[in-house]
């Protein structure tokens, strides 16, 4: 009779294997539950506006003004490159005015919101996770609670509100910058006239495109603030815990942005 295979310890494989699978699954459900509780706490903290409004203004400056340069720089280069690559692919095969449509639609529907959100996931997400994680491991969050203060209204809500307010604003600015850069690149390199570029842009443009860009920006604004806030707030002890929280926040936010990007395209774009 052959011995029952074993992974480690005393328990046989047929008992250990389900446990090994169940543990991370249960862990994920626990995270989802705790995340839901955090969202509930944020909603409960809304009436405490005297606490969160001044702090939200500070955070808006951090998210908005602080990220403006890198967001506009990225959007500008994205617009220019889109224009040049479209020119490389389409010149001689389709009418030149299509360039205007390609640049406009690419920037407004996809590149503006997604690139801005990915940049903010790195810049703001890492910052929030590191700040809150450090506050957790140095007992500052415990201290706040021991003083009878609500961490949701002092720490979390101002950051989330800043994301909800400032990310759409940044996306709109990124859209404008990308379009202008794309226009300039097309004009200087491909010799397209202003009239052709504008004609192409307007030919395929629907006002819903802007709403779609805004809806995506709102959703991404929540993702790049709420996930890092949750991850930082529940960080493990020590410097390693803060480091892990920071990495997790950026990776999770980025993955969620790409996932939401697909889901929203499927849900909101007619005929897809």
């Amino acid at each position: 009779m052959t011995a029952t295979p074993r992974l480690s310890g005393e328990l046989p494989l047929h008992i250990q294997a389900p446990r090994l699978v169940a543990k991370p699954v249960i862990g994920w459900f626990a995270h989802i539950g705790r995340f839901g509780m955090m969202v509930l706490e944020l909603i409960r903290a809304l009436p405490d506006w005297r606490r969160w409004v001044p702090r939200a203004v500070e955070q808006c400056q951090n998210v908005g003004y602080g990220s403006l340069f890198i967001v506009l720089l990225t959007a500008g280069f994205a617009g220019a490159v889109t224009s040049l690559q479209a020119g490389y692919q389409f010149t001689g095969s389709v009418p030149i005015y299509v360039m205007g449509a390609v640049v406009t639609e690419s920037i407004i529907l996809e590149l503006g919101p997604v690139l801005t959100a990915l940049i903010l996931a790195g810049r703001i997400g890492a910052r929030y996770a590191a700040e809150l994680g450090t506050m957790r491991v140095t007992e500052q969050i415990d201290a706040l609670e021991s003083l009878g203060r609500n961490p949701a209204s002092h720490l979390l809500l101002p950051r989330v509100i800043a994301g909800i307010v400032m990310v759409p604003a940044l996306v709109m600015l990124a859209d404008c910058t990308g379009l202008l850069a794309g226009w300039a690149a097309a004009k200087s390199s491909l010799g397209i006239t202003n009239a052709d570029f504008v004609y192409g842009s307007r030919y395929f443009f629907r006002s819903f495109d802007l709403w779609y860009s805004l809806i995506k920006a709102e959703a991404f604004g929540m993702v790049v603030t709420m996930i890092p806030c949750y991850v930082g707030f529940t960080a493990d002890q020590g410097a390693e815990g803060v480091g892990r929280a920071t990495t997790t926040a950026v990776v999770m936010s980025s993955v969620m942005i790409l996932l939401l990007d697909t889901v929203l395209a499927k849900l909101l774009l007619p005929g897809v």
Binding site: T138, Q140, A143, S146, L147, G148, R149, N150
Partner: protein, 250 residues
């Protein structure tokens, strides 16, 4: 009055508190002794509801802390001042703003003149100059951070004061000064206090009674004299780590 009844607390498979029964009477100072890592800070966090026991109960003024509503827990926390081990100062705020956040009453918190006076008073009580209020926590030494942490804890005029390792990491001179400060605050504020420490000599100085936490349970409770005369091997072993105390006990 603070009471812990059969409190159990585990983190994963690690049992930290294994049926703790503990009582602090109104107006007295109790030192909770024990080696590092025995769960003294964990026990303290149960008193303000920062941690919930797996089983057992924690009572403050007869109210069961784990069963308090959100509003009830906030009300309790406003009565308790908690001085954290490393100060736990908010590093994005000045010392003044840190201490001000400890003012429990919302009307007083919004009164600029009251806050100025109260923060200055709290700084005086912990033997710090008013100018320290303008500094950021990063500019303070370890001892000053602890003092500011205590100033924040007393700003709301609490009925209970919890000190988590107030002398750890301090040199002997500053540790003595911290013990003097705890005694002085006790004389001025008449709060019910729990001092968590592994410093035997300091605990004997500041406390009316002493409790020894060992392997998740309270091994002995008594006065300093009871401890010096104890026959329990565990108590003796713990006390003998402090050479001076041993000399005094002989």
């Amino acid at each position: 009055m603070i009471e812990l009844r059969g409190v159990h607390k585990s983190f994963g498979r690690q049992v930290v508190l294994d049926g703790v029964d503990f009582e602090v009477r109104r107006g007295e100072t109790v030192a909770l002794l024990g080696p590092s890592g025995t769960g003294k800070s964990v026990l303290l966090k149960h008193i303000v509801g920062l941690l919930r026991p797996d089983s057992g109960d924690v009572l403050v003024d007869g109210q069961s802390v784990p069963n308090l509503s959100r509003a009830g827990l906030t009300a309790l926390r406003l009565k308790v001042g908690y001085a954290f081990q490393m100060g736990a100062l908010f590093d994005s705020m000045t010392v003044f703003e840190n201490i001000r956040l400890g003012i429990a009453d919302e009307t007083q918190y919004r009164d600029e003149a009251y806050c100025d006076a109260r923060v200055a008073e709290c700084l005086r009580l912990v033997n710090l100059l008013p100018e320290v209020g303008r500094k950021m926590p990063a500019e303070l030494s370890g001892g000053m951070r602890k003092r500011v942490g205590i100033a924040r804890a007393i700003a709301g005029r609490p009925s209970y004061l919890l000190y988590d390792e107030p002398t750890s990491g301090l040199d002997p001179v500053n540790a003595d000064a911290m013990d003097d400060l705890i005694e002085q605050l006790q004389a001025e504020l008449h709060a019910t206090s729990v001092v968590v420490s592994h410093d035997v000599r300091g605990s004997f100085k500041v406390a009316d009674r002493i409790a020894l936490l060992h392997h998740g349970t309270i091994r002995k409770v008594g006065t300093a004299e009871d401890f010096v005369n104890a026959k329990d091997e565990v108590v003796r072993e713990f006390l003998e780590r402090d050479f001076q105390l041993l000399e005094a006990g002989r």
